[in-house]
Symmetry: C2
Subunit: 397 residues, 2 copies
Amino acid sequence: MVELSTVRDEASHTREADEPRDSLLVRFGVDKPLKLDAGVELSPFQVAYKTYGTLNAERSNAILVCHALTGDQHVASQNPVTKKPGWWETMVGPGKPIDTERYFIICPNVVGSCMGTTGPSSSNSKTGKPWGLEHPVVTIRDTVRAQAMLLDHLRIDTVFAVAGGSMGGMQVLQWAASYPDRVFAALPIACATRHSAQNIAFHEVGRQAVMADPEWRGGRYLVEGTNPRRGLAVARMGAHITYLSDAALHRKFGRKLQDRSNPTFSFDADFEVESYLRHQGSSFVERFDANSYLYLTRAMDYFDLAADYGGVVANAFRGTPTRFCVISFTSDWLFPTSDSRAIVHALNAAGARVSFAEIVTDKGHDAFLLEEPELFAIVRGFLDGAARARGLATEKR
Amino acid sequence: MVELSTVRDEASHTREADEPRDSLLVRFGVDKPLKLDAGVELSPFQVAYKTYGTLNAERSNAILVCHALTGDQHVASQNPVTKKPGWWETMVGPGKPIDTERYFIICPNVVGSCMGTTGPSSSNSKTGKPWGLEHPVVTIRDTVRAQAMLLDHLRIDTVFAVAGGSMGGMQVLQWAASYPDRVFAALPIACATRHSAQNIAFHEVGRQAVMADPEWRGGRYLVEGTNPRRGLAVARMGAHITYLSDAALHRKFGRKLQDRSNPTFSFDADFEVESYLRHQGSSFVERFDANSYLYLTRAMDYFDLAADYGGVVANAFRGTPTRFCVISFTSDWLFPTSDSRAIVHALNAAGARVSFAEIVTDKGHDAFLLEEPELFAIVRGFLDGAARARGLATEKR
């Protein structure tokens, strides 16, 4: 069984959703509702975000970084909940490919998450209690609309670039489709224009695992003082397998036994890979909200760019001024290279300026978060070229 | 949430484990214990099995069919629990590739299962109550040992062939390794000589889903009158994805919505693939025992033929008189073709007689259970050739 050594403080968890630490916060009042694809308006609502670097006088050097399913705004600095480094410190920072000495980095927490942007664990202003399942279902497009409102608030008309991997890459594509004139360059990494049937299936299993936990209480666990830890841990364990590759699991773990020389003939974590997965599950529940997991997997499932453009992805990008760099990884089976090629074909058909790189690695989908020198070189090169085209100063600021 | 319309009758479930319907049963007394790899003896114990066709006077035309993880002895006749046709009626029957008019087919339920061969839901003779987790952990080799005892009981010295897919294929390989002189021909389909780290990981998620269900009660649910339906359903849903291919899911479901034209923006089963998976989960729990699921996934995890032979698979087959036909499917990512090639390489290194076929299909791992004409043709051809070599009458009996 998954061991959950640390009992999470429910109160502090709710506080993070409403009063995120180490973050900037913009609150939109009832006069500025977020219009949702579900046909309702979310108001008031708030967006938690982080910035790094300095916005130049022309307000032209901003890079919007979009995070993945369980990511957050703490892209390049310590996460206040986990006390771990930011999730993309390999990519974002002084002298890094997304260089905080040249660019002004903005990373907002997505709508529906649990780190300070409004989501199911945020307090509903009408009741004073956490939304739970009363929160409307949100989409990738909703999140991008909220991000556009954030940019308006920051008085940034056009971002130099939008970059992100996985669900972050979906936001990048949605940005380029919804606001072509506001995006100079786009970096969608390890993503797709729609979630596949297999990916929806994996998400559904995760949601069922959460909802099968009696402590989920129909989504009212924060109010009722319970916590569907075990269901969420199972969901995370299953999802985590899809983030890796068979080859990476084999290389890391093979069939190695955990601290023993012979199998125990029991249901203990005999194999290292079991122990590793259990750890992934139990550490995840310390930092993430179960309902947010439901909402954000749902947002990914609903993502289907073609559906909004007459069934043809290329229509989303016709006449786009944005320049694209599409990146995939050979061992990513969640968003395989064929998905990225489909993006490139659509961009070609739309007459867009696009470059494409498939990076050879055995690290699977998670490669975009890991130490991948080729990835860093490509991102740096693409941004350098775009910066010259944009007329951004090439020297460090 | 998974809807479970039929409430299972616990009592009848336990009865099936002890008194299987429409099956033959051999009970081994305390004088004939099953020696387990776990270092203990299981006694008394019983094996439930089915036979089809007629054993010839020379007792030389028997084919042992080994079932997969959640299979059973009802290979070619109605399953008394589900009332559905046997699980391999496409392959086994009069005039079928495994021809019941020529061969005598024996299909035993594996040790640790829940359909009449001793397993965790069987009554422990010492307590009169279901074993639960008190049942010792079993391995593929243990099951093959029990099957050898069954053949002894049937006074069959050598089987003409052993055939099976997935976990059934593991048994085939173990048979050829443990009892080379008792196996004339071997048909391991869609399997491997060891369970991979990724496959162990998927199994572990399924086990955690079962054990996270409070109704599992530490494995004592039969005694306590509960049933970890929801956990087991989640486990099955996750596993089911691995039995199919991305292409098959896409072909069958794509992103089609379930009986509606627009998304509901809810956590209902909006997509057909969700509805399909939920059905897979809920129907599975009506026929299978949660603890058996733990035991048999564990047995597969432990399977590692090389480990018993100095780390070299070929050593398991040195000087084998058995002829092999190894079969894989292009879209099987659970036991990919590379696993089958490794079997073939080992057999070649051991100097065995082996043929190999990789069948092109998008149906994934489950292809071995489905309508695959090429599979049928290959099995028929291999058995025909082996029957001639064995001197079996070629005319129908």
